[in-house]
Symmetry: C2
Subunit: 380 residues, 2 copies
């Protein structure tokens, strides 16, 4: 936005649905907010007339058949706006082209070079404001996280060898709905046995094995806000390698949580997790970043990853979710030369472990929002 202001933008156009909801309260899938000179308006279409009237407060409401973005820029042009900031990450090349045509039409009287400089690209102004949650948002996120923890406890009884991953997901999502959630915040991950080696192992028809890990990664949408958590439990007795990898990931996860504090760079939090796994010889097996912001969307800023220089601020809610994913070769390779598998269960199969909490950055450090779900080794 700094750059947009320097470029003289006197108005802002917002079309990304979560940003529109954040600014206006409108929860429909198709809407735009325009802000200029202290005036603000929400644009949507006829499917949403009743809903928009009920939800939107303090903004002028305009209903029309054309695309909300086109409506919005015409309104801005009519209001005398000559430069308007928009979010380049959330606007398609085609949508911008359509809006440019609308501006060209609406500002016929204005010299062409001025028309051509109407749109000023910004990189997620509203998204950046949304990273820091206010009190009302934090209350909602605490509730969503608490529902998530309750679901984890309740779903353990269904983790039985032979039960399908989708059956586990069915039970989890059913209980979530009965708890009053609007939806799951993303496609539920139930990754069992060798499938636990898939970082994004959405539930399939695969049956839970008699021996092996089950990774549950799920979240609910409650009051518009997302929860997100992961726990990995073990069916049957583990190999020594499985036990070791679990505890390395747990150590990495707790190190990263301990690093969360205002003023700390995101890269430092990532490195806190990564250095533990590096020492454990699992650096390559940790093939993703440590976490991400969460809120109205399941993936928001900040990114908790290497080379992310952004600094944590009180009110941010982030996930901390290191993992280690071992191919069958890596799973065989013992951490210490000469170590044996535990209790005679050799492990040659691929496996993976991920542990994830939601963490609120507070003024003095951090608060674990998913503390109600234990992370100690669970063997079923």
């Amino acid at each position: 936005m700094q750059a947009a202001l320097r470029a003289g933008a006197e108005a802002l156009l917002v079309t990304h649905a979560p940003d529109v909801r954040y600014l206006s309260g409108f929860t429909g899938s198709s809407g735009a907010v325009a802000l200029a000179g202290g005036r603000a308006a929400l644009f949507t279409d006829g499917r949403y007339t009743t809903q928009a009237k009920a939800e939107v407060n303090g903004l002028r409401l305009v209903i029309d058949k054309r695309s909300p973005g086109v409506q919005a820029v015409e309104w801005l042009a009519a209001a005398g706006v000559k430069k308007c900031a928009f979010d380049a990450a959330q606007t398609s090349v085609a949508a911008l082209e359509l809006m440019k045509k609308a501006v060209n039409q609406a500002l016929k009287a204005v010299p062409a070079p001025m028309r051509r400089s109407f749109f000023v690209a910004t990189d997620g102004l509203v998204a950046r404001i949304r990273q820091v949650k206010d009190e009302d948002e934090i209350v909602r996120m605490r509730k969503a996280a608490a529902v998530g923890c309750g679901l984890f406890s309740a779903v353990l009884q269904y983790l039985i060898p032979g039960v399908g991953e989708t059956q586990v997901a069915a039970q989890l999502e059913f209980m979530a709905r009965l708890a009053g959630v609007e939806a799951m915040s993303f496609e539920t991950i139930v990754a069992s046995g060798e499938r636990s080696a898939l970082p994004h192992g959405r539930a399939t028809a695969a049956k839970l094995p008699a021996q092996g890990f089950v990774t549950l990664d799920f979240g609910v949408l409650l009051g518009g806000y997302c929860s997100d958590m992961t726990r990995t439990v073990h069916l049957g007795r583990p190999s020594e390698r499985e036990w070791d990898v679990y505890h390395s990931v747990l150590e990495a996860q707790e190190a990263a949580i301990a690093a969360v504090s205002p003023g700390v760079r995101c890269s430092e939090v990532d490195e806190a997790a990564r250095s533990v796994l590096r020492k454990a010889g699992l650096e390559k097996e940790f093939s993703h970043s440590t976490g991400h912001g969460v809120g109205l969307e399941i993936h928001e800023g900040p990114r908790i990853a290497a080379r992310q220089e952004q600094v944590l601020e009180p009110g941010m809610v982030i996930t901390i979710e290191p993992g280690a994913y071992l191919s069958s070769g890596a799973a065989l390779k013992a951490r210490r030369p000469g170590s044996r598998t535990k209790k005679g269960h050799p492990v040659a199969k691929a496996f993976g472990v991920r542990i994830e909490d939601m963490v609120l950055v507070t003024k003095s450090g951090h608060e674990l929002l998913t503390a109600a779900s234990p992370k100690d080794w669970i063997e079923l």
Copy 2:
């Protein structure tokens, strides 16, 4: 694509996830496909190594930390490509900017004007190919539609006054999961009583009333393909106005289905529904278009709407879903002067009706994919 070819594009870059899946089989959320000179490659990141190896067949597979789009254009530039088509509707302004920078870097030796003309905007080439389903896709969509019909029959038992809309959704989604679906294809709509007047009334904590409509609009994701259907049933005895509006919507829906045939323009199908509702005095109350294509995505082309000149082709799968949404004032207004409410139940409350089927365009006409769910008046 015609325009892209005329502009000399010799390569195609695809980044929209359903398009990537369609071309490569890869189901991850972050990937790109590049096609040039008979060669094709899929680009993704380390989270998806195992999954991509299992899913992708016949394409070269490249795994790297950078964004798949940037990887892809660098590969194209290295292959000597000078012009590349991309989908302007599915590429953000920011993503294009990043890819332009990568091309500028990769093609340093090439004159600047040639670098600047590297990207050629197209409007959904893959999306247009996807509109026409092949035999394998039609089999999957028939299955998804059949599961949807089964769920509608099964959920009727839960439509009891006092039960919450989210409880109905919970039962529906639970049964869907047990039937083996990957997910719901969109947020389930359970809109009861006055909420039936909301075209997009997602399930809320509201309790089903003793008297009034309940609109159920839902779909499943099965084998990657979406189903989509809507039925509106009535709790208790209807007013004459409710009865009349239901049957007008049904008549409109059946007229539109009857119009579905290869060579027919989408606008003609829309008009078939709209003219029935116009004659019934419900034109303004039908505030959206008649339908949309469905497939890997819940909303695809073609659009079944006014002024849509696109012609239906065998293999297209579309929804036909007219509706009428009456505010409390409109609900009171009787269709015929002097008509009375039925059985002494005056209706002053808002209500709405929508009926939706999935229809396959065949060589000789059409096939109703959701025929297993009756559309006769259901009173519970």
